[in-house]
């Protein structure tokens, strides 16, 4: 169902577009040779260019250009052979030059798209309007000196990619899926580490609402710097609700910048920024247009890894996975690789099932990452092998897996040590069956008169009698023979 807000006067839908600032993975800054590492002592990762000393000039970092192109290709976007750096002029303490070097009407990457994988297995395509390169600003610290703010320029000048979506998103969970997918692609490409806590990925959310069925867009508000997927979803929800209330009470939503306060679950107008902005963009005369040739673009294209969407298609085709399972596995390259190691020469569906439901479930319960998993892909694979070669049955396998998670021991050792081998000796199973039949003559009659479902009950009783170790298929077979002849 489409997402809607029940107002007092009817149903409203929400229109969302995201502007994501992704910090480019690089050694040095976009226009200076200072380190782009996270952290560092205040102002120690600053060159005099970053601090805008008079007469010092920007020189562009080749790797940052390549990263932007790589990202553009990953987003199936048009790479602009000719793009222009422009100055965005405004005064702020964390902006040393008095302008940000950014791109305006001629960005390095144009239209592209991104496919969302929704939890119900469906997909949706979201348009990317553009990607441009720009400088990050410095950091201001407000709580250290009374009445003053401190300025640390370590971040100033680090390369960012601003990735702007079309207003194609229609629900908070779509926005969440968009962010997760974008982060996944950026990580596959190695162009941004996607770490939202450290601010490598920051999100501005544009939200507007309209009545269900209404054409055209109403005034939108921009919620600045929301720093987790969960908060993005919450912010959209509360902002949309707020806007519905404004419209329904006869008011008008003003185009403005707002902040999301997660502790109070509300968005607030940033009054301080209300003074009309006039950025006076113009081409930076210290830089020339950025020209890319086809050879360069092809070279970058040749280094692209298999991306999540392609991998997902391959998992569906090669391993017979459901679209949903495939999309869960490809979110992270390490997850996908792990799965493929487990699935190699084995049943893909079984492998996917175990990786997603058993392994990921257990890891998340234990608060561990895949890299920290006590069960390696090899060990999990060998557990599956014990199952498929009928050494143990599925139920026992779950128990064995739990022990593996706790001890890190090999499945086979656990099985031997604890005597968990499956009982396939028909004599022993027959004895157990006979016992159950003898104790339940009335139920036997019921089965014979056509109540097939009761057979399952018999299987359960027999399994119990064998300590769970009987081969369920053999039990089934023998039961049928003995009761139905």
């Amino acid at each position: 169902m489409t997402y809607a807000i029940e107002g007092n006067t009817g149903r409203w839908t929400v229109v969302v577009g995201l502007e994501v600032h992704a910090q480019v993975v690089s050694e040095s800054k976009l226009f200076s040779g200072a380190s782009a590492c996270y952290g560092g002592e205040p102002n120690d990762q600053v060159s005099l260019v970053d601090a805008a000393f008079p007469g010092l000039l920007p020189v562009i970092n080749a790797h940052c250009v390549e990263q932007a192109v790589r990202t553009g290709l990953g987003l199936r976007a048009r790479i602009n052979r000719h793009s222009v750096f422009a100055r965005k002029n405004y005064f702020y303490a964390d902006l040393p030059q008095g302008y940000q070097i950014s791109q305006f009407d001629k960005p390095i990457v144009g239209e592209g798209h991104l496919v969302l994988d929704m939890p119900d297995g469906s997909s949706r395509t979201v348009g990317i309007e553009r990607l441009h390169l720009e400088q990050d600003a410095g950091k201001s610290i407000h709580d250290q000196v009374p009445g003053a703010s401190l300025i640390d320029l370590n971040r100033a000048g680090i390369a960012l990619m601003e990735i702007v979506s079309h207003p194609d998103l229609r629900a908070p969970d779509e926005a969440g899926a968009y962010l997760r997918k974008l982060r996944s692609i950026l990580r596959y490409l190695g162009t941004c580490d996607g770490n939202m806590e450290e601010g490598s990925l920051r999100c501005d959310v544009n939200v507007s609402v309209r009545r269900e069925g209404e054409e055209g867009l109403r005034t939108r508000c921009e919620i600045k710097n929301v720093n987790s997927v969960r908060f993005v979803m919450q912010a959209i929800e509360v902002e949309a609700r707020r806007q519905v209330e404004v419209w329904e009470s006869g008011g008008e939503v003003l185009q403005e910048t707002r902040l999301f306060d997660p502790s109070r679950g509300e968005t607030r107008s940033m009054r301080s920024k209300e003074h009309a902005h006039d950025y006076r963009y113009f081409p930076d005369p210290d830089l020339l247009p950025l020209e890319l040739d086809e050879e360069f673009i092809s070279k970058v294209r040749a280094t692209l890894p298999e991306l999540p969407d392609e991998k997902k298609e391959r998992f569906i085709a090669d391993y017979g996975l459901t679209p949903y399972d495939a999309s869960v596995l490809v979110v992270d390259q390490a997850n996908a690789d792990f799965f493929e190691e487990v699935a190699k020469d084995r049943d893909g569906k079984l492998a996917a099932n175990w990786v997603i439901n058993n392994l990921f479930g257990a890891l998340s319960k234990a608060g561990l990452s895949l890299a920290e998993s006590p069960v390696t892909s090899g060990a999990l694979g060998r557990l599956l092998d014990l199952m498929t070669s009928d050494v143990i049955n599925g139920r026992i396998a779950k128990d064995v897996f739990e022990i593996m998670m706790e001890t890190g021991a090999e499945a086979e050792a656990i099985v031997e040590e604890r005597g968990l081998r499956q009982v396939t000796d028909t004599g022993a199973i027959e004895a157990a069956i006979d016992e159950v039949i003898a104790a339940n003559p009335d139920k036997v009659e019921e089965v014979r008169s056509g109540k097939d479902k009761l057979l399952g009950w018999f299987v359960g009783q027999v399994m119990k009698g064998t300590g769970g170790k009987a081969n369920p298929a053999v039990v089934n077979d023998l039961l049928r023979k003995k009761i139905l002849g």
């Binding site: 380190s35 205040p42 102002n43 020189v59 562009i60 250009v65 201001s140 703010s149 020209e291």
Partner: protein, 95 residues
């Protein structure tokens, strides 16, 4: 283009230049006469002429991605009017 005092005050705010009240009138007159003079450019037919941002007939040159600079906090702060804990100090910014 004749600029009035309010417009001058707005531009002065955009440019962050404090213009005393008593200078705004004169300034408005000076700026207006310059702008009027500049408007002669309207007479030039520029139909189909691409704007020219630079005379340097070059492609932008790229530098390799290597840390070659920074680590010079003393130089960075050497001219700071006010500093504290290796940071620049400004009047408290409203968040």
């Amino acid at each position: 283009m004749a600029l009035d005092k309010t417009t001058v005050a707005n531009i002065a705010f955009l440019a962050r230049i404090d213009i005393p009240e008593d200078r705004q009138e004169t300034l408005a007159r000076e700026l207006s006469s310059i702008l009027t003079w500049v408007e002669q450019l309207e007479q030039v037919d520029t139909q189909g002429v691409e704007p020219m941002a630079s005379v340097a007939n070059l492609a932008l040159s790229w530098r390799p991605d290597a840390v070659t600079d920074g680590g010079c906090v003393d130089d960075v702060l050497s001219n700071a009017p006010e500093k504290n804990s290796n940071c620049f100090v400004v009047p408290r910014m409203v968040e």
